[in-house]
C-alpha cells in the first residue's frame, strides 16, 4: 500500500483541493510535504483535504499537516479536512488536532 495524492487548484472556490488516496505514514509523508509546499509556493491559499479515500494516517502525517498549517497560518489561511473515516477522525480527536484544523463532516 502506498499513497497517491491529487492536488489541483479550485479556481471557483479559490483553494487547493487535495485528495490523498491510501496511507499517509512515515514513508509517504515526505512526498505529501513536498507536493503541498510546492503548491503553496505556486499560490498561497486555503487547503481543502478530502479524506474519502484516505485509509490511514500516523503521527508523522499529522506532523506534516501541522507544519503546512504553520506556513499558511502566517497568511491567515486555513486547512479544511472533509469526509474523513471514523478511525482517522479518532486520531484528530485524541491529539486535539480537531481544534487546530477545520474538520467538516
Amino acid at each position: 500500500m502506498a499513497l497517491n495524492i491529487m492536488i489541483k487548484f479550485d479556481e471557483i472556490n479559490n483553494h487547493w483541493s487535495v485528495e490523498p488516496e491510501g496511507e499517509i505514514d512515515i514513508y509517504t509523508s515526505p512526498e505529501l510535504k513536498e507536493k503541498l509546499s510546492k503548491a503553496l509556493d505556486d499560490k498561497m491559499a486555503d487547503i481543502v483535504i478530502d479524506g474519502e479515500k484516505l485509509d490511514y494516517i500516523d503521527s508523522t502525517g499529522l506532523g506534516t499537516l501541522i507544519g503546512i498549517l504553520k506556513i499558511i497560518k502566517e497568511n491567515k489561511n486555513k486547512i479544511y479536512i472533509r469526509n474523513i473515516k471514523p478511525n482517522i477522525r479518532k486520531l484528530f480527536d485524541i491529539t486535539e488536532l480537531d481544534k487546530v484544523f477545520v474538520i467538516e463532516e
Binding site: Y27, Y56, D58, S59, G63, T95
Partner: protein, 119 residues
C-alpha cells in the same frame, strides 16, 4: 498458563512499517478482535516502530497471546527527552488506543484485553 508467541524483526526502514501493520492485522483478526480494535493496534504499533526507528538497526516486536490479552512489546521505544511534538503525538496515540502501555528499560509493552467470547 501457556502463551502463544509471535516474533517479528524488521529492518529499521520507514517503508517496512506497513508490513508490521499488515502482520498485526492478521494476528489481531485471528484473535477475533473487532475492526476498531484491530485499527487501534495497527496505529499504536506503528507509532512504537516510528519511535524506535532511529535508535536501532532492527526493530524487534513480540506478540504474546494469553487467555485474556494480547501483549505486544517493541524494543528501543523511549519516552521523548525533549519536546519533539511528533514523538509526543505518537506516545499520546499509543496511550489513548491501547488498554495499557508500560515503558520498561528495554522498550514498551502495549496490551489489548481480549473480551470473553472473542476467541
Amino acid at each position: 498458563m501457556k502463551k502463544d508467541i509471535f516474533r517479528l524483526t524488521i529492518p529499521s526502514k520507514p517503508d517496512y512499517i506497513s508490513v508490521v501493520r499488515l502482520t498485526s492485522s492478521c494476528i489481531a483478526s485471528k484473535l477475533g478482535l473487532s475492526i476498531d480494535e484491530i485499527e487501534d493496534i495497527k496505529v499504536s504499533l506503528s507509532e512504537a516502530c516510528i519511535n524506535a526507528l532511529t535508535r536501532t538497526d532492527e526493530i524487534n516486536i513480540k506478540y504474546e497471546i494469553s487467555e485474556d490479552r494480547l501483549a505486544i512489546t517493541v524494543d528501543n521505544v523511549v519516552l521523548s527527552e525533549n519536546d519533539e511534538r511528533e514523538s509526543n503525538l505518537g506516545i499520546l496515540i499509543m496511550k489513548s488506543l491501547m488498554d495499557e502501555v508500560n515503558f520498561t528499560e528495554k522498550g514498551v509493552e502495549m496490551i489489548k484485553y481480549l473480551k470473553d467470547g472473542n476467541r
